[in-house]
Amino acid sequence: MPSPAITLRGVHKRFGEITAVAGLDLDVPAGTCLGLLGPNGAGKSTTMRMLTAQTIADSGEIEVLGYRLPGESKQARARCGVVPQIDNLDFELTVRQNLTVFARLYRVPKAERAGAVDRALAMANIAARADSVVDELSGGMRRRLLVARGLVHRPELLLLDEPTVGLDPQVRSELWALVDELRSEGVTILMSTHYIEEAERLADEVAIMAEGRIVARGRPQDLVAEHVGTEVVEIYGPAPALLEAERRATGEGFASRRTGPVLAILGAERSNGALPEGYRRPASLEDVFVVLTGQEIE
């Protein structure tokens, strides 16, 4: 088995009274894409920042590409690409200039720099806007540039923090295709997201994070089978009816969850007509997420 690209052991991080990360253990095997899934405030962004030593853990061990953090973080960062959640582009510079700054920072040799920038422009599909000032770009273009910036030095490991938040469906599916392509080239990817669909499509494995630790880890379909079975019955109706249905389901030994006007009964494939009638659908990662974290996806 290849050595993991990322290893976290017993990592804790507090900010004053708030515990952001509480005993996190996580491995990301080299060459795989791991989706870090969790509600807001679960500690995903803190975890991401710790991997570049922009946040220093209070305790625990972190290794990235074989380098021990935070001491050897600079070496690790040289081989990592980072796509942040917030837009921190240099808005006064052109697209090409933004990439050139990072090609220099990542020590791309002078002779290869222009080629590396062109390659990143092409990968992120922004070559047509290479000489536009960032200030003039649309949100989707800016996100493409953020991705290009993280790829300009051909990193072995890519850290994507909520890469498609707020993007229209077209740009989103384009970025998904890019991530898929990188994965097939053997780039290790750690991607935090709260879009279930994104994790299901792109990730080899998913780690579900809640309250600062990993609560489940595995391939999406395995997690679904293990935690919520294969089928779900959804019942719509007024609150008293749902309460009654929930009582019945619980009595029969079925787990269920309420989301506003919907009651979802999990593991419905095991029922022998004992469950109330409703709309049957396949169980999803979202069901796992809600069951494990007790929180809704927005």
Binding site: G66, Y67, R77, V82, N88, E92, V101, R104, Y106
Partner: protein
């Protein structure tokens, strides 16, 4: 257990402090941004000393013909070099640092790459010091138009401006790292920068001040800059000038370390 852990470990690459590639990348960024607004910066850097020279030169010059052995235009023309250096280092140090840290998040983006806070601060301060050294020459050029005689010693003035500017740029970065909002800068501007600027021997000799005030002025780095520039233009005096250089270099080094320390506290949590 230790052996298992060490198997997958990469060879520890040598990392030097203050790597030129990291500092060079940030300098390149600054230069590239600067190419977009050099006109306005240059305009104000030349206009400001001109106004000072006109206002003080003609205003006071009409009342006092000679100050400390110089014509007033010579006295102010050389003194205002320090003002130009101060303004072109401390204000960008304050404002652009704060904006890049707090609003543009530029520093967060850079620190995800292989550069550390020490290199980042060094590059930023180096850039502002280079600029201050060059813009410090503007008052001399303007004063020459008003009758200041050229001197070979003027060629050292950019270097004096660089060292002084390095200290004040780093001071600005330190305050920008500590400040919670841009409004906080008002405290520093009124209580620190304005007194430093006025009690430096720029517009009037500090020995005209009460004893305690002229003693305090000895601790003002800007005063040492003013004296050193005057000596560069009108003739060096070895002993006092070595002291001026020593104070400016010590101030620059102290502020540099302080800026690194404070900005690291702010950017790395």
């Amino acid at each position: 257990m230790a052996t298992v852990e060490s198997q997958g470990r990469a060879p520890v690459a040598r990392v030097r402090r203050l790597e030129p590639a990291a500092i060079g990348a940030v300098l390149w960024r600054e230069l590239t941004v600067f190419r977009r607004y050099w006109r306005s910066t240059t305009f104000s850097s030349v206009l400001e000393p001109t106004i000072f020279l006109l206002a003080f030169g003609f205003g006071f010059g009409a009342l006092v013909s000679r100050v400390a052995g110089y014509s007033y235009i010579e006295f102010v023309g050389t003194g205002v070099v320090a003002t130009a250096v101060l303004f072109s280092s401390v204000f960008p140090g304050l404002f652009t640092t704060f904006i890049k840290r707090r609003f543009q998040r530029t520093y967060d983006s850079l620190l995800a790459a292989p550069i550390d806070v020490e290199e980042l601060v060094t590059a930023e301060v180096l850039w502002l010091a280079l600029r201050a050294g060059i813009y410090g020459m503007a008052p001399l050029l303007v004063a020459m138009v008003f009758g200041l005689d050229p001197a070979w010693g003027m060629l050292v003035v950019p270097l004096i401006g660089f060292v002084t500017g390095f200290g004040f740029a780093a001071f600005g970065v330190t305050i920008a790292a500590v400040a919670k909002s841009i409004d906080n800068f008002n405290y520093v501007t009124s209580s620190v920068i304005t007194p430093l600027f006025l009690v430096a021997g720029t517009f009037f000799p500090i020995d005209a001040l009460p004893g305690w005030a002229s003693t305090l002025a000895q601790f003002n780095p800007l005063h040492h800059c003013v004296e050193l520039v005057r000596d560069a233009v009108f003739g060096f005096q070895l002993g006092p000038d070595l002291l001026h250089v020593a104070v400016l270099v010590a101030f620059a080094l102290l502020m540099w370390r302080l800026a690194i320390w404070r900005l690291r506290l702010r950017l790395i949590d």
